[in-house]
């Protein structure tokens, strides 16, 4: 039996943020990411899962192991059915926040990963996808 190459976990509460981080640590360790790369991916997951809980009203984190030739990587998608983001360009500005945060979650996470994609529309929720290669 081979280990699963994708899956998902609920992101509904603060406790789930911790569980997300622990899952991402386990996955990046299995992929033999360097300690710095592990830490970057876990920190990005922490920021984005907190956004899912705080602004999206909860959602799900989907994960997928990636293989491309000899390269391995990890893709994470944070999906919620919350209010969505009206102005994506504004949301991707350093220091901009709709809540009480520092406004670093989205822009900061983007700097920590190799691929970043955000899809959102008012009333239709938000999906942020990130990937990092070993």
């Amino acid at each position: 039996m081979t280990a699963p190459t994708s899956g998902s976990i609920p992101v509904l509460s603060e406790q789930d943020i911790v569980l997300c981080r622990q899952l991402v640590r386990k996955l990046t360790q299995e992929l033999r990411f360097s300690l710095v790369d592990q830490t970057k991916m876990i920190t990005a997951a922490s920021e984005l899962s907190r956004n899912t809980v705080t602004y999206g009203g909860g959602g799900v984190m989907r994960w997928q192991l990636l293989t491309e030739g000899t390269r391995n990587g990890l893709r994470l998608a944070f999906e919620d059915k919350g209010p969505g983001i009206a102005d994506l360009a504004l949301a991707m500005t350093d220091g901009w926040t709709s809540g009480k945060g520092l406004g670093l979650g989205l822009t900061g996470s983007k700097r920590l990963v190799s691929e970043f994609d955000i899809r959102s529309a008012p009333g239709e929720g938000t999906c942020v996808t990130i990937a990092r290669w070993k």
Binding site: E14, Q22, R50
Partner: protein, 122 residues
């Protein structure tokens, strides 16, 4: 909810964060430390984060908050023991931890606090 223990060593409070910090635990630590500084008249607070595997913007904000609160309560907070991978990630994330004093390890953090207090008395 988990609470992080605060140890008192003379005029210094020592906090060692060894758990994967939940947001509420981080906020509770801020409250507990403020209360403890006032009650004990501590002049220094050492926060050892050597066991922390990440500092995200929430934890970063807590460290900035604790440092600011300590300052207005006439104490000095020093964050010690940050892992190199955490430091690299923190800077790339864009967190500057402005106003937070740091030292490489507990020993150097303690030396910093003792030095400050001697200067204050002189």
């Amino acid at each position: 909810m988990q609470r992080i223990p605060i140890l008192r060593m003379g005029r210094v409070l020592l906090v060692t964060i060894q758990v994967d910090l939940q947001d509420q635990t981080a906020l509770a630590l801020q409250d507990d430390l403020s209360e403890m500084i006032t009650r004990t008249g501590a002049r220094g607070v050492l926060i050892d984060i050597s066991a922390l595997e990440l500092v995200d913007s929430f934890i970063g904000r807590m460290l900035v908050g604790i440092s600011g609160i300590a300052r207005v309560l006439d104490a000095q907070a020093v964050v010690v023991g940050m892992q190199p991978a955490v430091a690299i990630t923190l800077v790339e994330l864009g967190l500057s931890l402005s106003g937070v004093r740091t030292a490489l390890n507990v020993e150097r953090g303690m030396a910093l606090l003792v030095h400050d207090q001697q200067e204050g008395q002189a």
